[in-house]
């Protein structure tokens, strides 16, 4: 298990990360989402033992990652992939992988077999001996994925792995992450892409230096938002909006793009009352539908609440 216990990191007088704790189990994708400068990369770097926490502990199978005498052992079980593939452009894909495989201590006789298998799996086997600088960005990221798993790590730390990829390459990477989860690896995914996080992650931490919220995506949504009814309408005057506000109070959420949003506890009971009120106030009702809240709504709400503090 990969475990963070009350981890903080301070650069000079500025806290980059403050008092965060979470566990990552094998077979789980744990997402870290947050705005730029929220501490996502710092957290990943601390988990890799590249930065030492100012306080708190990071344990990988009970090995303290921050302890330099044990960090090498911990790193041998962790794979890493960042937004930048960070490959040696003048060397071939094969040489890049061969180099890292040797650094991870894999026996030479095994390396060939592993490289061939992974490259075939990623569909770039025939270009294995071409120089990396001749590859597209998507292909480079595939090689970086191969590098991250060449030593068959138990845990994978992914820092914005699809940030600079075209949609097709990003999809390939996402599919690969799902395959890795199925192979019982623990994965930590730091990302800006909230749809990606919602699609891939079992648990999510919303981070902005501090822990703003953590849990399964569905739980976070239901914890922060009640059910919501969206009513598509014709033109609504300012006076009418004021009347709606007066009539529904906090239950009226917003009016945007010809859509009125209402928070409801019991839709069967409350929706007819909403419609009746709108019709009585001469507002043209076109559709009524249930509005599904997403991780994006959770993220925006938590980050704005934090900024308001």
């Amino acid at each position: 298990m990969l475990k963070l216990v009350n981890v903080s990191k301070k650069f000079g007088n500025r806290w980059a990360v403050r008092d965060i704790s979470f566990d990552v189990q094998p077979g789980m994708v744990f997402g870290i989402i947050g705005p730029n400068g929220a501490g996502k990369t710092t957290t990943i770097r601390m988990m890799l033992g590249l930065l030492k926490p100012t306080s708190g502990r990071i344990l990988m199978n009970d090995i303290d990652v921050a302890d330099e005498t044990q960090a090498g052992n911990a790193r041998a079980h962790i794979g890493f992939l960042s937004e930048n593939p960070g490959l040696y452009e003048n060397l071939s894909a094969y040489k890049n992988l061969f180099y890292f495989a040797q650094l991870y201590g894999i026996e030479k006789k095994e390396i060939d077999e592993r490289i061939t298998a992974i490259m075939e799996l990623l569909g770039i086997g025939e270009r294995m001996h071409h120089r990396v600088k001749t590859f597209s960005k998507g292909m480079k990221q595939k090689i970086a994925i191969a590098r991250a798993i060449i030593h068959e790590p138990e845990y994978l730390l992914l820092d914005e792995p699809t940030a600079s990829l075209d949609p097709s390459s990003a999809k390939t990477v996402r599919e690969f992450i799902l395959n890795l989860r199925n192979s019982k690896r623990g994965i930590v995914l730091a990302t800006h892409n909230l749809h990606e996080a919602q699609e891939l992650c079992d648990n999510i931490l919303v981070l902005n230096t501090v822990n703003l919220g953590m849990g399964k995506p569905g739980e976070l949504v239901s914890k922060l938002f009640s059910q919501c009814t969206a009513v598509s309408v014709g033109h609504v005057s300012r006076d009418a909006i004021e009347k709606i506000k007066a009539g529904f109070g906090d239950k009226f959420i917003s009016y945007t793009q010809d859509k009125l949003m209402f928070a409801v506890q019991n839709p069967e009971h409350e929706n007819p009352k909403i419609i009746q009120f709108l019709v009585e106030n001469n507002i043209e009702v076109r559709y009524v539908e249930k509005e599904n809240r997403t991780l994006e709504d959770v993220y925006i709400k938590l980050v704005r609440q934090n900024e308001a503090k």
Binding site: R75, S82, G86
Partner: protein, 274 residues
């Protein structure tokens, strides 16, 4: 077993860097150009004209020579005026063989250390189980070994060129002699080490190869000082001066090397903070 893996990792870093250098013209060109210019071109354009000069009307002021400590491969009292002129030119070449081991490692080490930051390969490299000392030694070797080979090769070419060009003057093949062997044998590794440890120190702070090269080239300053002082005849680089210079460089190697090793930590390398 653990020791085996460690030794292998130095070699892995070394082999990868050599592979990379071979395909990088910014490294291979200085590696060949500098030794060829200093060891072949300069001797040819300076010694060849002297050996063809008619100096039969010249004589030597032996009194003045007694007060100098010019290094001569043959007894100074048996030198002809032409021979003396050649010996003075050979003495002027001494600092060149300090410049080669100062400049070449600086170029290689800048690419080797700071190049990892520039090409954004550093983070993935530091994320492997490699220890800081393994990385440091592997990288230092990949700068040290090619530089030493280039310096020794340059010296071999210099000896061959000089012997061919000066045979008509001295009537014998005079290089290498003990002084030159000591100069190249002792000072070359010491100066190369100074250049490399300085670059290691710089690499933790700088993330641009050109900036690293410019800062790293400051190592050449003591060599230039010696060059200028010998040029204006304030200092003659004889055997005694050579050993004094070697001791000073060795002390600097130890001091800067110690600071570099203490500074070469993952967090400092990654964040560029001392």
């Amino acid at each position: 077993m653990k020791q085996n893996k460690k030794s292998r990792r130095y070699a892995v870093i070394f082999h990868k860097d050599i592979d990379e250098f071979r395909s990088n013209l910014l490294i291979t060109i200085p590696l060949f150009i500098l030794p060829v210019v200093m060891a072949v071109v300069l001797p040819v354009v300076t010694i060849y004209p002297i050996s063809n000069m008619d100096m039969s009307n010249y004589s030597i002021d032996t009194e003045r020579l007694e007060n100098t400590s010019i290094h001569s491969p043959i007894p100074i009292e048996s030198l002809s005026p032409k021979g003396l002129l050649v010996v003075l030119v050979l003495n002027a070449f001494v600092p060149f063989f300090m410049i080669i081991p100062a400049v070449i490692p600086s170029v290689i080490a800048a690419h080797s250390f700071v190049g990892e930051k520039n090409h954004r390969t550093l983070e993935a490299l530091l994320a492997t189980p490699i220890t800081e000392s393994e990385l440091l030694i592997g990288k230092a070797l990949s700068a040290f070994i090619p530089s030493i080979l280039a310096s020794y090769l340059a010296f071999a070419m210099f000896c061959i060129c000089t012997d061919i060009l000066t045979y008509p003057v001295f009537g014998a093949y005079v290089l290498p002699d003990l002084f030159w062997l000591s100069l190249v044998g002792i000072l070359t590794p010491l100066i190369a080490t100074l250049s490399i440890v300085s670059n290691i120190l710089i690499s933790t702070k700088v993330s641009d190869v050109r900036a690293a090269q410019q800062l790293g080239s400051l190592v050449i300053v003591p060599v230039i000082v010696v060059f200028v002082l010998s040029g204006v005849r304030i200092v003659y680089i004889d055997a005694f001066m050579l050993y004094i210079f070697a001791i000073i460089i060795a002390l600097l190697d130890f001091l800067i090397g110690f600071i570099a090793v203490k500074t070469f930590k993952r967090e400092k390398i990654l964040l560029g903070r001392w």
